[in-house]
Structure formats: structure tokens, C-alpha cells
Amino acid sequence: MSSLSALPDGALEVEALGADEAYVTQPRGYRPLVEALKDAGYEMCVDLCAVDYVDHPGRILPESFAPTRFEVVVNLLSLSRRRRARVRVLAGDDEPAVESLFALYPGVEGFEREAYDLLGVRFDHHPELTRILMPDDWEGHPLRKDYGLGRVPVQFKETAPQ
């Protein structure tokens, strides 16, 4: 049950597991939507992460949304109303970028840096978008699906070709 009377342009309410209300939105509706949710009583942004959907084209999305490779997922928590809300943003394909939530919830600073570090999603107007878990001179974004596992070859592991 939505706690908003009107949704910003580009946003749509959906059903979701583990949330009392959930939305899918285009990047243009992302910041206004979260701002409206904050005004509706969601005091805390508990979690922000990104997902790389390159190997999973058939994910559940409303029909009016064309799937993009990257998605940013925000989980909000209302302490006063004991509710959870989830916002999924279609963040783009090649150079994913969304607006930073830093001005609304200063606590997302680290989560946004983590999403940038591990998945390469850019957050505009983030105060200092640097890597956080990997060293600064690391190449690539490890949690992307095309990054590989980087295993060290083991001798005699493969069976001989027939």
C-alpha cells in the first residue's frame, strides 16, 4: 500500500517480497521519489546496492520498463511507521549513473561508494566518489558479471581431451 498520493514521472508501484511498498523507477524519477518517501516518514536509508543483470535478462519488471543492465536498489526504513520501502532504479547499460542520495541521507555515502567500487555505477553529486573496498589503482569492478573469478590455474585439474 503506497504512502504517496502521487508518483513522480517515471516511477511505478510494484509488488515486492520483504517490503511494505516498492517502486521501480527511471533515473529521472529516482531522486523525487526518494525525497517524497522521506517526507512520508522514511527516516532511514538502511541499504543501497547495485545489481548487474547482464546474465539475467528475464527479471520481473513491469511491462512499461525496458530492462537495463544495471539496477540500483534502495531499502528505506520508517521507524515511526514500522514500514519498509524499496526503490529499484534502472540505472543504464554501458555507463550506469544515477543521482546520489547523499543530500537526503548522509549515511548512504559509504554504500554508494561501495556500489561504485564493486559495480561501477556512478553517483552524480556524491561528495567524494572513490573506491572503498578495493585499492585505488584496481582495474575493473569485481562484482560485475563479466569480471570473472580470477582463479589461479591448478595443474592436472582438467581431464585430458578425448
Partner: protein, 449 residues
């Protein structure tokens, strides 16, 4: 997941030194206004207002202050937390945490392990609260699967969680004691925890990283005579915790180091997404066990402990009393433990009984399939959370109908709680910084994953 695994072409890059570069604390003139706000802990000013560097109430120019490194290998940082502080003499003006020294890519690993193997992986994240990690993961998987867990499994999970919470808080009490020079507290904390770990070993075979809670229930039933063991643990804790209360709370030196030090307000904590005892110490009665009950927490009787001022002492007091509340819950589990199965009999997640494997080919195949391929989880995404000893431990799980999670993201409380450090450190001394890290109780395995 595509099957072509990228091979490391050369081994040299793995041993070349790396740099944290821009992640470090830079001089003020080289820092953006927003980042200055973060580093000086001006949380509530961040709301739409950019901080003007000229209006910073730091009197000293850049070249009169000192940027000092604390960690990553410093005994008081509880692992490999690296803290960079800008100091004016002994007073902290700005601070920044540099993390990632324990990053092992466990989320990535989790995407390449089946749901059956997954609990083994996540249990290593917050190594002081392994049961809670497994529980969090299992609850998320079960939500996607939509299976029901037998009542006994639920109560076993709850009892083990609370035992784990006590053991984690005891470690916290021990290390906190040591950080401020009370080595007896450290010996006592570890001594009491030992009893709990011994019970874990008896039940699960391991002292830490238990892999006990799994999707579908728990790995094994409680051992014979568990009632006596748990009752002995409870008796011991109920007798000893008041003694520690006396030993520490009644100590003038301890109180002087804790009272009024490193205050954080409820508004700041909520803006930063701080949860757990740190949030409760500011007076916000937010405990997921009470406010969004999972397992059977709505059927047991316990109090949510809150503080008033949000200082070091409140954080200490909240944890100390939480231990007693956990003992209360454990006592109720002891009295009311239902009989029945300790894991779901849904053949989708549970292998057939050992005896059937010897006589039925289908049972053998089923068993084999479950442990090689694993079970498939319906397509979808879910977020679920539990109250770990450090705060809200959440799991965002995406499934593509395969036997492995498509995306496993764990929202770890220590990671979020680290954001409180600049707020708490600002204006304090370096000696206080030690107590602040300690009462924040970050576990680096939980931060870096």
C-alpha cells in the same frame, strides 16, 4: 553466471603493492566541501546545504595541524580498521576511515556457491555472530522459496541467536575493558564466552563459523542433555553479569572515560543509518526483534534497552543489560522448546533420511542432486533483516531461478555504523578515539566482507 572463468594471466600483479590514494584523508584545501562535512561529522548540516570550507570552525590553518594514521594494525582498532585523524595537538578535528583491508569478495563468492553451500560462506562475515549471519541468509532464501519452518527449528534458531548475541557482547565487554586498561574485564569476558562456545561445539561440531542454521531449518537437533548445559550457562551469566556491572560501572576511572564522551544524537544516528545498540543508546527504542518480529520473538517476553544521551557509557550500559535480556529469552526457550522436527520435511530443501538412501535408488539420486546441483529458488528478489548484536543485518537476494543466488548483497551493520565515527570523534582526544571505536563495536569481517 557465465561459465568461462577468467584466468589470471600473470601472477606478478597479485603481489605488487597497492595504493589507497584518494581514499585517504587529504589536507583540507584539497577536499571537497561535501567530503569536509562528512569528515568533520557535520551530518545534519548536509541536508541540501553544502558546507563552505571558509565557515568551518577549525581555527588552525592546514599547516599547523597534523594528519595521523591509526591502524590498520593497531591493537585498539579490533582488526584492520585504518583511521586517519587530523589533529590539533591532542584534539581530533577531522577523521576518515579507510577500509577494505579484509575485503575477500564474499558477495562474489556467494554468487558462485549453491544455496546449500551459501551458509558456509556468509557465516564467516561477522565472525563474532555467525548464527545471525546464517539466519539472515536462510530467512531470505526461505522467503523466496516460500517454505514453512517447523516450530522447533524456529525456537532452536532463536535460542542459538540469543546465545550468540551474549557471546558477541561478552567479547565486546572484554575488548572494551582492555581498550581502557581493565585487563580483568578482558579475561572474564573470554571466560564466560568459552562456555557458550563449548555448547556451540557440542551442538554443531564447531566453535565458530558454525554453518548450523541452513535454509530449511537447522543442521542438527540439539544434543542430549542440552537443557542442563543451557541452564548452566544461564545460571552462570545471571550470577556473573551483575558482578561485571559492579566491577565496571562502579569504577570511577571507567566512568570518567565513558561518561559524556563521544555523544551522538538520535537525529544524527537516524540520518546516518545507524542501528543496533548505538541507535538505542540515543533513546530510540528500535529493535527489530520487537518492532518487526521474526522467528518467534513476538511470543517471548523481553525488554528493549534504551539509553538517554548516546555517549560511550550509554552504549556500554545498553549492551550490558541486553545480555541479561538475552538470558531471559534463552530461559523462555528452555522452558517452552517445542518438540518436533528440527528442519523442514519439504523434500525440495531437505535430503532424504540416511536409512532411505541404502534402500531406495530415488532417495540416493535425490540426495546426490541436492548436494551437487542444489535446489532451485524461484525468480525474484527479496530483502530481509534480523537484529544482529551490532544492528540491522540485512540480506538483499536476487534469484534467477537457478541453484545459486544471482546477487547476494549483505547489509552489514558494522559498515553502516562506521559512518558515526567522524561525528563521535570530532572534538575529542586521541585517547577517546580508542574508546569510541570500542563502544561502536565494529567487526572488520562484517565491514569488508
Amino acid at each position: 553466471m557465465s561459465s568461462d572463468v577468467r584466468e589470471v594471466e600473470r601472477l606478478e600483479p597479485l603481489v605488487v603493492g597497492t595504493s589507497e590514494g584518494a581514499q585517504e584523508l587529504a589536507p583540507r584545501r584539497a577536499t571537497s566541501p561535501g567530503a569536509l562535512g562528512v569528515e568533520t561529522g557535520s551530518v545534519l548540516r548536509l541536508d541540501g546545504v553544502t558546507l563552505d570550507p571558509a565557515s568551518l570552525d577549525i581555527e588552525r590553518p592546514d599547516d599547523e595541524t597534523m594528519i595521523v594514521n591509526m591502524g590498520p594494525v593497531h591493537p585498539s582498532t579490533h582488526g584492520v580498521l585504518r583511521l586517519m585523524l587530523e589533529l590539533d595537538g591532542e584534539v581530533v578535528l577531522r577523521s576518515k576511515t579507510v577500509i577494505g583491508y579484509l575485503h575477500t569478495g564474499m558477495e562474489k563468492t556467494g554468487e558462485n556457491l549453491s544455496y546449500v553451500q551459501g551458509a558456509t560462506n556468509v557465516t564467516r562475515m561477522d565472525y563474532l555472530a555467525p548464527i545471525l549471519n546464517e539466519l539472515n541468509y536462510s530467512l531470505a532464501v526461505e522467503k523466496l522459496l516460500g517454505i514453512e519452518i517447523p516450530e522447533r527449528a524456529t525456537w532452536i534458531r532463536m535460542m542459538m541467536s540469543e546465545l550468540n548475541r551474549v557471546s558477541s557482547h561478552l567479547i565486546w565487554m572484554a575488548t572494551n575493558g582492555m581498550d581502557i586498561g581493565s585487563t580483568s574485564a578482558m579475561i572474564y569476558g573470554f571466560r564466560e564466552r568459552e562456555l557458550i562456545l563449548a555448547f556451540f561445539e557440542k551442538t554443531t561440531g564447531l566453535r565458530m563459523n558454525l554453518n548450523y542454521v541452513r535454509p530449511g531449518g537447522v543442521a542438527a537437533d540439539l544434543p542430549d542433555g542440552w537443557e542442563d548445559d543451557v541452564a548452566a550457562i544461564c545460571d552462570n551469566l545471571e550470577r556473573r553479569i551483575p558482578e561485571y556491572d559492579e566491577l565496571l560501572t562502579g569504577q570511577p576511572i571507567f566512568r570518567q572515560r565513558m561518561e559524556g564522551v563521544a555523544v551522538i544524537s538520535a537525529e544524527e544516528a537516524m540520518a546516518l543509518g545507524i542501528t543496533g545498540p548505538v541507535l538505542r543508546s540515543t533513546g530510540v527504542a528500535w529493535d527489530l526483534r520487537r518492532t518487526m518480529p521474526y522467528l518467534a520473538y513476538d511470543q517471548v517476553d523481553f525488554d528493549v534497552i534504551v539509553g538517554t544521551y548516546g555517549d560511550n557509557f550509554d552504549r556500554y550500559a545498553v549492551r550490558l543489560h541486553e545480555m541479561l535480556e538475552s538470558v531471559r529469552i534463552i530461559r523462555q526457550c528452555l522452558e517452552r522448546m517445542p518438540s518436533g522436527d528440527y528442519r523442514s520435511q519439504d523434500p525440495k530443501v531437505t535430503p532424504p533420511p540416511r536409512a532411505r538412501i541404502g534402500e531406495s535408488m530415488e532417495a540416493l539420486i535425490h540426495h546426490f542432486k541436492l548436494f551437487t546441483e542444489g535446489f532451485h529458488v524461484p525468480r525474484g528478489e527479496v530483502y530481509s533483516a534480523v537484529e544482529s548484536p551490532r544492528g540491522e543485518l540485512g540480506c538483499y537476494l536476487v534469484s534467477d531461478d537457478g541453484p545459486r543466488p544471482y546477487r547476494l548483497h549483505v547489509r552489514t551493520p558494522s559498515f553502516a555504523n562506521l559512518h558515526a565515527l567522524p561525528v563521535m570523534l570530532r572534538g575529542g582526544t586521541v585517547a577517546d578515539a580508542v574508546t569510541v571505536i570500542s563502544t561502536l563495536d565494529p567487526v572488520m569481517g562484517d565491514v569488508d566482507r
